[in-house]
C-alpha cells in the first residue's frame, strides 16, 4: 500500500470510531442519527482510498451507493423523529426502551397454565350423615356391625336433620 492509501484508511477508521462512540454514548435521537452519518462518511472515505489504490472506478461507484443509502436513511430517520416526537414530546431514546422485545419463556415450560379456582356447585339438601360427625368409627369392620350401631346411626341422623 502506498502511504497515501494508508493515511486515508487511518483517517476513515478514526471517523468511523468517532461515529461509533457517539452512537454508543449519545442519548438524543438526532445526535445518534448524526453519529450514524459520520460512520457512513468514514466508510465512504475508505472506498475512495481503495479506488485510488486500484486505479478504477469501483470504489467510487460504491461510495455513490453509500451516499444514496445515507440520503434514504436521512429521510426515513427524520420522519421517524417527527412521529416519535409527536407521541412523547422528548428526544430521549431511553423513553422508548420499552419497545424492545420481552424475554420469551423457556421452551421446556408448558404453555398451558392450569388456573385453580374455586367453583360453587349447586347444593341439594344433605342426605345421610356427615362422616366427620358419624358416631361409627371409620375403621369398623362390616363383620362387627351390630343392631346397636344401626340404632346409634339412626339417632345421629335424626339429630343432625332436626
Amino acid at each position: 500500500m502506498t502511504e497515501s492509501t494508508q493515511l486515508l484508511l487511518l483517517f476513515g477508521a478514526v471517523m468511523f470510531t468517532i461515529g461509533m462512540v457517539g452512537f454508543l454514548t449519545r442519548r438524543s435521537i438526532i445526535l445518534m442519527f448524526l453519529s450514524l452519518e459520520m460512520m457512513l462518511a468514514g466508510v465512504s472515505i475508505n472506498l475512495i482510498a481503495f479506488s485510488k489504490q486500484h486505479h478504477n472506478y469501483q470504489g467510487q461507484v460504491l461510495a455513490i451507493m453509500v451516499l444514496t443509502v445515507a440520503a434514504c436513511e436521512a429521510a426515513i430517520a427524520l420522519a421517524m423523529v417527527v412521529s416519535l416526537y409527536r407521541r412523547k414530546a422528548t428526544l430521549d431514546i431511553n423513553v422508548w426502551s420499552d419497545v424492545n422485545e420481552t424475554p420469551s419463556p423457556p421452551v421446556s415450560e408448558p404453555r398451558i397454565v392450569i388456573v385453580e379456582e374455586t367453583i360453587e356447585y349447586p347444593t341439594l339438601t344433605p342426605a345421610g350423615l356427615d362422616p366427620s360427625v358419624s358416631p361409627i368409627p371409620s375403621n369398623l369392620k362390616p363383620s362387627d356391625w351390630t343392631k346397636a350401631d344401626d340404632q346409634r346411626l339412626h339417632d345421629a341422623e335424626v339429630s343432625q336433620h332436626a
Partner: protein
C-alpha cells in the same frame, strides 16, 4: 504525493520505530482524555486550547522546515480539521454545537475526497450532507429550544464502556493496517477488474467523465436499484411522517 519526508528523516535519525506503536499510544491517550472529559475531570476549553497550540506548532514546524509540499499540507489540514470536528461533536453537550462539529467534520472529509480526485463524490457529499445538516439544524432548533440543556444531553449512556470499545476497535484497525503494510507487496497487487483506459485516468479532472461512463454502462443495474431505493424511501418517509387523522367513533 510525497508523504512525510520530514517524519521519515526524523525516523531515520532515531532508528526504525513502528508507527503503529505511536498510534496505539495516541489512541490510549485519546481514550483517557475523552473519558476524563465525560467525567467532568477536564474542561473542554483546556483541551481545545492544547489542541490548537499543538496543531499550530506542528504547522509552524512544517512551514519552517519547508519539506512538505503544499498539497500534503492541505491534505493534513483537512484531516486534522475533520478529526477536530469529530472530537468536538463527541465532547460538546449542547446539541446545536454538536451539529456544528458534525458539519465541520463532514465538509473537511469532502475536502479530503476532493484531494483524492474524487471530485464528483466530494461535490455530492457536500450537497447531500450539507442539505441534511441544514435540515438537522432546523430540527434541533425546533425540538430543543430550551434555556437549559436537557438531561438526556447532559447524561450519557455508559461512557466508560463506549470509550473502551472505541479504543479497542481503533486499535484493532490500526494493527490490521500495520500487518497489511508488513505483508509482501505481491499479496496486495490486486488486479483490477477493468483497468482504466488511457484517456480517462483517475488523476485528471475529467475523471467524472469516466465515472459517469462506468456508472451508466457497467453499473446500470445498480443505478436502477438505487433509484428504486430512493423512491421507496420517499414513499416510506411520507407514510411515516403523516399525521394520523383522528376518526370520531
Amino acid at each position: 504525493m510525497n508523504f512525510f519526508p520530514l517524519a521519515q528523516s526524523m525516523l531515520d535519525k532515531v532508528g526504525k520505530v513502528d508507527w503503529h506503536l505511536m498510534a496505539f499510544i495516541c489512541i490510549a491517550f485519546g481514550a483517557i482524555g475523552y473519558f476524563s472529559l465525560q467525567r467532568g475531570m477536564l474542561k473542554s476549553k483546556s483541551i481545545a486550547i492544547v489542541g490548537v497550540v499543538l496543531l499550530t506548532g506542528a504547522g509552524f514546524l512544517a512551514a519552517i522546515t519547508n519539506e512538505l509540499s503544499l498539497d500534503v499540507c492541505v491534505f493534513l489540514a483537512f484531516c486534522g480539521l475533520a478529526i477536530g470536528g469529530g472530537i468536538a461533536f463527541l465532547s460538546v453537550r449542547q446539541p446545536i454545537y454538536a451539529a456544528l462539529g458534525f458539519a465541520t467534520a463532514i465538509l473537511s472529509g469532502a475536502g479530503v475526497l476532493f484531494l483524492q480526485s474524487a471530485t464528483f463524490i466530494a461535490a455530492a457529499t457536500i450537497i447531500v450532507y450539507a442539505g441534511a445538516t441544514i435540515i438537522m439544524f432546523l430540527f434541533v432548533l425546533m425540538f430543543s429550544q430550551q434555556d437549559a440543556p436537557e438531561t438526556y444531553d447532559l447524561k450519557l449512556t455508559r461512557p466508560f464502556f463506549a470509550t473502551i470499545i472505541g479504543a479497542l476497535f481503533l486499535g484493532v484497525l490500526v494493527y490490521s493496517l500495520q500487518t497489511a503494510e508488513d505483508a509482501s507487496p505481491d499479496e496486495w497487487k490486486v488486479v483490477s477488474a477493468r483497468p482504466l483506459s488511457a484517456e480517462t485516468t483517475l488523476d485528471t479532472p475529467s475523471s467524472t467523465v469516466g465515472l459517469g461512463r462506468s456508472l451508466f454502462t457497467e453499473y446500470l443495474f445498480t443505478v436502477e436499484i438505487a433509484g428504486t431505493l430512493l423512491l421507496a424511501a420517499t414513499i416510506g418517509s411520507i407514510a411515516v411522517a403523516q399525521r394520523t387523522i383522528e376518526v370520531s367513533a
